[in-house]
Each structure stands twice: as C-alpha cells, then as structure tokens.
C-alpha cells in the first residue's frame, strides 16, 4: 500500500513527459517542413506573386465541395504586366504597408486580426467594387482617401486616413489581389464574389 507503484513513479512520468514532448515536437517539425513547402509562393495552394497579371475566379470545386480560386487568362493589374521579380516587389510593398499602417488591428486577413472592419481575405473579389472594370480605380481611391470614400453601410464606422500614397495603394491592391488567389479550404464560407465575366 505504501509502495509507489511503478506506473505512478516520478521517474516514469519524467521520462513520459520528455518523450511525449519530444515526439510531438518532432511530428510538428516534420509537418512544418511539408507545410512551409506547400505554402511557399509559387505552389499549388499559394500562387506565385505574378498571379496579379491574371484573372482570379472564385468557383465551386465539386470534388472538394466548396469554392476555391481558379487562375484565368491574362488581366494585368493597372494595365502593366509585371515579371515575377517586379510582381514580388509590388506585393512586398503592399504587405509592408499593410503592416506599417496596422491594418490588422481593425481588419482580419485570412480571418486573423481584429473584428472592427471586414475580412480582407477575398477583398479583391468583393461585390462592393461594383464591377471588374471599376474595381482597381475604386480601391486606390478608397485607400488614399477613406474618409470621403467610405461605404459604412450605415454603421458610421469609417476607415481612418492613414496617409497611404498612390504607390503604396497600388502595392496594397496587388497584395490583396494576390491574397485572394490563396486556397483557403473554402474560407470565408459561401463567399459571393462580384460578377465574374467569362467564367469558363
């Protein structure tokens, strides 16, 4: 009765703790290698940055049972077709601006961030931009002067003026277009994109 049975001894549990932790850590590291490979830009799930030269459709994939992005024909952003390096530079400018302006403390990106303003994951495809021809210009205008271009849908919540320059606005739009091409396993659910000309 007073003997500590082997299965509850301190040594056994010390070893168990170490082995369980080590095992889980190793599994995580192995998975991390595979995951990072799969999410590096240029792969199946996360397209290369020059995807901004193309049209991005968002459609139901019947095998997977939810919507996924599909890359379409050429449709250069702001009318300039960029090589991979320039495309990456533009998206990088966009991402840097998104961080420097602290967008994520109002918005969510890929569903992470703050809940004061709409999710930006598929912002490029949002029906709010009226149609595909007006979209780019409206986005740039909005970013540079949100105070006067706000569409608050009656909530009174306007985006503040963050001093975004035209160049930065172009970068942000490129970043948002590229982000909308990421395969997010169907998030956000049941998203209704803006009218997509020429689906096939």
């Amino acid at each position: 009765m007073n003997e500590v049975p082997w299965w509850s001894s301190e040594t056994l549990w010390r070893k168990t703790a170490i082995w369980v932790t080590a095992f889980m850590a190793v599994v995580l590291i192995v998975l991390t290698f595979d995951t990072v490979r799969q999410i590096t830009a240029g792969g199946e799930r996360v397209p290369a940055y020059n995807v901004i030269n193309q049209k991005i459709f968002y459609e139901v994939n019947s095998d997977r049972g939810y919507q996924v992005p599909r890359i379409g024909e050429t449709s250069a952003l702001f009318g300039n077709e960029l090589n991979e390096a320039d495309a990456e530079a533009l998206v990088t400018l966009g991402k840097l601006t998104v961080q420097a302006k602290n967008c994520m403390n109002c918005h969510t990106l890929l569903g992470n961030g703050a809940y004061y303003a709409p999710d930006l994951t598929k912002a490029w495809l949002d029906p709010g931009w009226v149609n595909e021809d007006l979209r780019e210009q409206l986005m740039v205008q909005f970013l540079m002067d949100p105070e006067n271009n706000a569409r608050t849908f009656g909530t009174g919540r306007r985006m503040p003026n963050l001093g975004i320059t035209e160049k930065e606005a172009h970068g942000i739009v490129a970043f948002l277009k590229w982000m909308s091409s990421i395969d997010t396993n169907g998030f956000p659910r049941g998203f209704k994109p803006l009218e997509q000309e020429d689906g096939a």
């Binding site: 995580l28 995951t35 998206v91 998104v98 990106l109 890929l110 909530t155 919540r157």
Partner: protein
C-alpha cells in the same frame, strides 16, 4: 501545533529576488490599468465610431489594449519566478543588481514603445516602419528593435534564474521551469521576420501565439502552481513534482499539435483539418484531469489557506482556465464550426475569457501572496477588520464583468456568424449587415456595461492591494500540518 493561534506578525525583510519581483508586479498592475483604459476606448468606438476618429483610431487603441495585456502578463510571470526562485533554489539570487538594471531597461523600452504607438502610430510602407514604429502583427506589434531588446532582457532574466538554480539546488519544478522558459523565449523568435507571403507570415505567427498560450504559458503556470501548493498547502514535493510531469505530458501531448486548429483556413494543407480537430479535441483533457485531482486532494486534507484572497483567485484561475480554454475553446475548435466562427466576435469572446481566466487570475493570486509577505506576514484569513469587503467585491466585480463581456461577445458572435457567414455570403456588405443587426448592437452595449463593471472591479482591487494588511496586528494564520 494549534490551527489558528492569534500571534503577532513576524516581519522579515524581503529577499533580493522578492524586491525585484515587487518591481515587476507594480509595473504589471500599471499596465493592467492601461489595458483596461484602452479596452474601454476600443469598446466605445464600436458604439460611437467618431470618438477619436483620425486621432486615436481603433487600430491604435486596440493595439495598446492587447499589447499591454501581453506585457503585463509576462511581467507578472517574471515577477512570480523572481519571487519563488530563491526559495526553490535554497540560495540567494545570483545577480540582484543586474536584475534591477534589467527591469528598468525593459520597463523603459515598454514605455518608449507605447509612446511611439500613441504619437507616431503608423509609418510609410517600408521596413524602417517595422523596425521603429510597429510591426503590424496582432499581439506582437512591438517594433523589431524592441523585439531584440526583449529577447536580450529575457536572456538576462533567464541567466539569473538558471545561474541561481545552478548555485543552489535543482529540483523537478525548477528543471521544468527553466526548460519551459527556453522554449518560451525561443518561440518568440519565430515571430521576428518579415515576409510578403501572408500564409507563411500567419503560419509562424501562430507558433508564437498558440505555442505560448496553449503550451509554454500553461506549463509555466503549472510550475508556479506547483510551488504554490507546496508553499501554501504544504503538499508533498514528490507528489507535486510527479503531477507536474503528468501535466506537462498532457499539455504538450495535446497542445503542440493542437496548433493545427489555426491552420484550417490560412492556405495551409488540408491535413491540418484532421490533425487540428483531433488534437484540440484532446486539449480539455489536462483540465478535466485537474478536476479529479482536486477532488482527491480536498478529500485528503481539505483546502485550508492562510491567504484567502490568493486562494480565491487561484480557484478563479481553475474555473477560468477550464471555461475559457476548455469549454469556450472546444466550442469553436472543430473545423465544421470554425468555418463559421473564425475571425468573428466569437473569437473575441473566447480570447477574453481564456486570457483573463487562465492568466490574469493567477498573476493576481501571486500578487496577493507577495503582499502578505510585504505587509509583514500578516493575517489574511477570514475575519479581516473590514471583513475583507474590498477584495471580495473586486473579485466579484472583475470576474462578473469579464464573464458578462464574454457572454455578450458570444451572442454577438452567433449573430455575426449567422448573418455574415451563413446568410450573406461573407461579403463586406454582409459584414456590415451583421454589425447592424439588433442582437449584435445590443450585445455591444452590454459589453460596455460589463466593461464598466470590470473597470470598477479593477480600481477596487488596486485600492485593496494598497491597503490590505497595512493596519493588521495579527500574524499569518498558522496551518496544521497535513493529516496523513
């Protein structure tokens, strides 16, 4: 030994480590106040979006709210470790002077960061902004210079702790503690580089956030609790140590791969749906295990404590951890549900209950343990001169306030996932429709009502902390040794 001799307080001067700890505790409470102040402003901006528009916008107030939280909780942990290290190592702190300098450098850095947040706010889209102003990544917004400074300060802290154990004696608890601190600091480095790739960015960002709160912080708290149990209840070291190992096995066994519940929708592969769902379904296990163990212990020797406020806050911690992490966490963790709730007020509901319930509570408990000693080992059991109304009311107001906010946010979260996700196709207009629906707006009002309650609770708690035991003439209640 009699159970409750009314004796005179036997004051003893604080040790070097304990004096350092008090510095951290005081700074932590100041930051807690800042957290609440800016939380209230953020909440108000939901109701009145024009408040401080273009001056102190929501992204700034919210950033200060959550950053102040992260920093005060870390300060509380560091303070707690300084508080217990000498007792556990059975020797004096190795570098008391160094620890003090380190504290002031860290605190000054935090102050500078906050001033820059408030007065510079945002910068141009250049790396320079990320190095000097803010990194724009939730919870780890601190600019890169501060990141590096934090790591250096943590290394100095770490040196001090490890060296003290090395000079004195090691124990099971200190072994786990030191290894856990290494992991905690190492993981922070995963959040320190820039990439244009938002998927890669969020992938590593979750390493920091998830592996902190659901793995390393839980174990750190486990170490502090283990020490606390030996100290305050006189529990057997061998038994407590064995249970710490069991807890580590359960926490890391479920929590490390539980990381997968953040990899459903950020571009990461589909296998994470299964892995994340499965392992986060296991995450309540350690919490349920604690229920059984607590019953077992209470049956053996009951819960007696010479420090009622601390014990009450420890109980609040047990419940808060169970409900905030276990119940609220599991509720939205399966991908079938998370598809609707991801990134809604639902997440905020869980975030508030879990951070407050699991981590704010235990830090407050540690501060009460420290205060008893600071006031000269005075009586803090039942029958305080003012009947202990301040600590009792502040406990009730604070916990009631946070629970109230949590429920309000849960209702808002339901409404948001229904309207925005299920009905409106997750568009911008869908988002705004949800924000304007009656239930949602009501919930936002109630969040502020309960926010006020929380604020009153905190102010009362500070008053209590400043006064408790100051005019007490009785010594700390002596507890009978544990019956066998």
């Amino acid at each position: 030994m009699s159970t409750s001799t009314v004796n005179v307080p036997v004051a003893s001067p604080l040790t070097a480590g304990q004096r350092i700890a008090m510095h951290y505790f005081i700074a932590a409470m100041v930051l807690f106040l800042a957290q609440i102040l800016f939380g209230m402003i953020s909440g108000l901006q939901y109701l009145m979006p024009d408040v401080f528009y273009n001056q102190l916008d929501f992204n700034v107030t919210r950033m200060v709210h959550i950053n102040a939280m992260i920093v005060w909780l870390l300060f509380g942990f560091i303070g707690s470790v300084y508080w217990l290290v000498e007792d556990e190592a059975k020797t004096e702190l190795v570098g008391a002077k160094l620890a003090l300098i380190n504290f002031w450098i860290l605190t000054t850095a935090v102050a500078v960061v906050v001033v820059v947040y408030l007065f510079v706010q945002v910068g141009p889209g250049e790396l320079k902004s990320i190095w000097l102003i803010n990194e724009g990544r939730e919870y780890i917004e601190a600019p890169r210079w501060a990141d590096i400074g934090i790591v250096v300060c943590v290394l100095v802290f770490f040196y001090n702790i490890a060296a003290t154990f090395m000079k004195g004696t090691w124990s099971g608890i200190s072994g786990v503690l030191v290894l856990d601190l290494v992991a905690l600091a190492g993981i922070y480095c995963a959040g320190m580089y820039f990439t244009p790739n938002i998927s890669v960015d969020q992938h590593w960002w979750w390493w920091v956030i998830h592996l902190w709160v659901e793995a390393t912080w839980e174990v750190l708290v486990g170490c502090i609790m283990a020490w606390g149990l030996i100290q305050t209840l006189g529990a057997s070291r061998k038994v407590v140590t064995t249970w710490l190992y069991i807890e580590v096995a359960l926490m890391f066994g479920s929590g490390i791969l539980g990381l997968g519940h953040h990899y459903f929708w950020i571009g990461t592969p589909e296998y994470w749906l299964s892995i994340g769902g499965f392992f986060s379904a296991l995450e309540p296990i350690p919490l349920v295990a604690m229920v059984v163990h607590a019953v077992y212990d209470s049956g053996r020797h009951g819960f007696k404590s010479a420090n009622h406020p601390a014990l009450a806050w420890l109980i609040a911690h047990a419940f808060g951890n169970f409900f905030g992490a276990g119940v609220w966490g599991f509720m939205h963790t399966l991908p079938q549900i998370n598809l609707y709730t991801h990134g809604t007020q639902w997440t905020a509901s869980h975030g508030h209950l879990a951070f407050f319930g699991a981590y704010a509570t235990i830090n407050i408990a540690m501060i009460y343990i420290a205060l008893q000693r600071v006031r000269g080992n005075v009586w803090m059991s039942g029958g305080l001169s003012d009947n202990g109304w301040k600590w009792k009311w502040s406990l009730g107001l604070l916990n009631g306030g946070v629970v109230g906010m949590t429920v309000a946010l849960l209702i808002a979260g339901y409404d948001q996932s229904f309207v925005e996700r299920a009905l409106e196709g997750s568009t911008w207009s869908g988002y705004f429709q949800a924000q304007q629906s009656a239930w949602f707006m009501q919930a936002m009002n109630w969040r502020m009502v309960f926010g006020c309650m929380t604020t009153v609770g905190i102010l009362l708690m500070f008053w209590d902390m400043l006064t408790i035991g100051t005019s007490e003439t009785r010594g700390k209640q002596a507890l009978a040794p544990l019956p066998e």
